[in-house]
C-alpha cells in the first residue's frame, strides 16, 4: 500500500517534471526540473530495491553532470532563448504520432509477460548478497571486458576534450 503510493508519487512527479523540462522557456528552470526528474527516478530505483543505482543516479547525474549543465547555461545567461518558440512548427502533427507509439510500446510491455529479473541474479540472490556487492561481482567478473571498454571510451572522450580545448587556447 505504502509502496504503491510512493510509486505513484515518484512516477507522477517524474513525468510532470520531464514535461516541464521541455516546455519551460528559461533554460535554468529546465535544468532545475531535470534535477527533479533525476532525484525522483532515484526514488523509483529505491522502490525496486536498487539502492546502489539510486545513489549513483543522484551522485553522478544530479551531482556532477547536471551541475556542469547548469554551469554552462548560467554562463550563457540564456536570454537568447526566451523569445523563440519552444517547438518546431509541425509539433501538433508529430505529438499524436509519438503518443501512439508510446501506447504501442506500453501495450507490448503489458502483454509480453515480462516479469522482472531473470537469470542468476534473482531478487532473492540480490537481497541476500547486498545490492552493491552483486553489482560489483557482476561488473568485475561477467562484464569485465565491456566495463573496461567503457572506461577506455570515457578516457578517449576526456583526452579529446582536452586536445580540442588546447587548440583553441593557442
Amino acid at each position: 500500500m505504502i509502496l504503491q503510493v510512493a510509486f505513484i508519487y515518484f512516477a507522477a512527479v517524474t513525468v510532470f517534471s520531464a514535461l516541464m523540462v521541455i516546455t519551460r522557456k528559461n533554460p535554468v528552470h529546465c535544468a532545475l526540473y531535470m534535477l527533479a526528474v533525476f532525484t525522483h527516478v532515484a526514488g523509483l530505483f529505491v522502490l525496486l530495491d536498487a539502492e546502489f543505482v539510486a545513489a549513483v543516479q543522484v551522485l553522478v547525474y544530479a551531482g556532477a553532470i547536471l551541475v556542469l549543465f547548469l554551469f554552462v547555461i548560467m554562463l550563457f545567461r540564456g536570454d537568447g532563448m526566451k523569445d523563440k518558440a519552444r517547438f518546431v512548427s509541425g509539433w501538433p502533427i508529430v505529438a499524436p504520432i509519438a503518443i501512439a507509439l508510446m501506447g504501442l510500446l506500453m501495450s507490448i510491455l503489458m502483454h509480453s509477460g515480462f516479469s522482472g529479473a531473470q537469470g542468476s541474479y534473482t531478487i532473492e540472490a540480490v537481497r541476500s548478497a547486498g545490492n552493491s556487492q552483486v553489482i560489483g561481482m557482476a561488473l568485475y567478473t561477467d562484464y569485465l571486458f565491456p566495463f573496461e571498454i567503457a572506461s577506455v571510451i570515457l578516457l578517449v572522450a576526456m583526452v579529446g576534450a582536452i586536445v580540442l580545448a588546447k587548440k583553441k587556447a593557442d
Binding site: 535554468v28 543522484v58 544530479a62 551531482g63 556532477a64
Partner: protein, 351 residues
C-alpha cells in the same frame, strides 16, 4: 511485524529523527560560538563576551535577530528559484544525518534501540550523493539573485564542489577497501581495535583537504571571498533565508566531521577503554548518568576534528583560483589514485 510493533517502530524512528534534527540544529548554532571563541583566542582576542556568561547566549541572540530581520527579495531576482535556493542548501545537509551512527544499540525499557536513524547498506554513497546535491543551493542562489557577484560566487562554488568531490570519493574508496562495506555502522564496527587512520593516513589528509574545500571554508573560501565578491552567492540574501545558508554551511561542516570520525577515527569506539573509567572511585559511579559513553566519545571526536577546521582557517591565507584547481586536479587526485593502488597491492600481498 504486528501492528503494535509497527507502531513502536514508527514512533521510535520519528523520535530518532527529532533527536538528530535537534542535535544538528543546536550544534550548527553553537558551532558558530565555538568558531568565534576559538578564532578569537587564536588572534589574542576573547570572542563574544556580552550576551550571557562568556557570551554563551550569543547564538540564541543571533538567531532571534536573523528571525526578525526584514526579508528582502531583489526586484530583478527570479523569485521562485531565489526562495527555493536556501532550502536546497539546507535540506540535503540535514537529510545526510539519517545514516550517521552516533552510537551502538542500547537497551531501554526492554526495547533495543540503535543510536542512529537507519543503517543503509549504501551509507557512504548516500552521504556523498546528498553532499553533491548541496551545490544546487549555492548555484541557484548565485544565479537567481541576478547579481554579478552572486553569479561569480555560485560558479566558483560549483566548480570547486565538483572538483573536490573526486579526491574525496577516491580517499573514501581506499577506506572502503579496508572494511569491505558501504555501511557506516559496519565501518565503525571494523575499527574496534585499530582505527583506519593508522592504515590510511594519506587518505585521511586528502579527505580533510577535500572536506574543507567542499564546505567552502578557508583557505578554500573563494566562493565568498569578500575582497573580490562582497560575500559571494548569498550577497542578496537577508534575514531567515540568509540564516538557512549559514545553518547549511555549519551542518555540512559537522557532517564532514562526522564522516571523518566514522571513516578514520573509529566512530563511537572509545579513546580510553570504559573499564578504565569505571575504576575511578566516585566518577565511575556517576557514569550511568551521562548515558551511553559511546555517544560522548563520538561527540568529543567530532568537536576535536572540527577544531582542525578552525585552526586551519585561523592559520592559512586564501588560495588563488588557479592554485585551488591545481591542488585538486594535479596533486590530490593522483595522490588519491596512488593510495588506492598501494592499498590494493598490500591487500593482495597480505592475502
Amino acid at each position: 511485524m504486528g501492528l503494535a510493533e509497527l507502531g513502536i517502530y514508527t514512533l521510535m524512528t520519528l523520535l530518532g529523527i527529532v533527536v538528530v534534527f535537534a542535535f544538528t540544529m543546536l550544534n550548527s548554532a553553537y558551532l558558530t560560538y565555538y568558531e568565534r571563541k576559538v578564532m578569537g583566542h587564536m588572534q589574542a582576542r576573547v570572542g563574544p563576551m556580552h550576551t550571557g556568561p562568556h557570551g554563551l547566549l550569543q547564538p540564541l541572540a543571533d538567531g532571534i535577530k536573523l528571525f526578525f530581520k526584514e526579508d528582502i527579495i531583489p526586484a530583478k531576482a527570479d523569485r521562485k528559484v531565489f526562495v527555493l535556493a536556501p532550502l536546497m542548501a539546507l535540506v540535503p545537509a540535514l537529510a545526510a544525518y539519517a545514516v550517521v551512527p552516533f552510537g551502538p544499540s542500547i537497551t531501554l525499557f526492554g526495547h533495543s534501540i540503535h543510536l542512529y536513524i537507519t543503517d543503509l547498506n549504501i551509507g557512504v554513497l548516500y552521504v556523498l550523493a546528498l553532499s553533491s546535491l548541496g551545490a544546487y543551493g549555492i548555484i541557484m542562489a548565485g544565479w537567481s539573485s541576478n547579481s554579478k557577484y552572486s553569479l561569480m560566487g555560485g560558479l566558483r562554488s560549483a566548480s570547486q564542489v565538483i572538483s573536490y568531490e573526486i579526491p574525496m570519493g577516491l580517499a573514501i574508496i581506499s577506506v572502503l577497501m579496508m572494511t569491505g562495506s558501504l555501511s557506516l555502522v559496519d565501518i565503525t564496527r571494523g575499527q574496534e581495535h585499530i582505527w583506519n587512520i593508522v592504515y590510511q593516513p594519506v587518505a585521511f589528509v586528502i579527505y580533510m583537504i577535500a572536506g574543507i574545500a567542499e564546505t567552502n571554508r578557508a583557505p578554500f573560501d573563494l566562493p565568498e571571498a569578500e575582497n573580490e565578491l562582497v560575500a559571494g552567492f548569498h550577497v542578496e540574501y537577508s534575514g531567515m533565508r540568509f540564516a538557512y545558508f549559514f545553518m547549511a554551511e555549519y551542518a555540512n561542516m559537522l557532517m564532514v566531521s562526522c564522516i571523518a570520525v566514522v571513516l578514520f577515527l573509529g566512530g563511537w569506539n572509545p579513546i580510553i577503554p570504559r573499564s578504565l573509567f569505571e575504576s575511578v572511585p566516585i566518577f565511575g559511579q556517576y557514569l550511568g548518568f551521562l548515558g551511553d559513553p559511546a555517544v560522548w566519545w563520538f561527540i568529543i571526536k567530532i568537536y576535536a576534528f572540527f577544531f582542525m577546521f578552525l585552526w586551519i582557517r585561523a592559520t592559512l591565507p586564501r588560495l588563488r583560483y588557479d592554485q585551488l584547481m591545481r591542488l585538486g586536479w594535479k596533486i590530490l587526485i593522483p595522490v588519491a589514485l596512488g593510495n588506492i593502488l598501494v592499498t590494493g597491492l598490500i591487500k593482495v600481498l597480505v592475502q
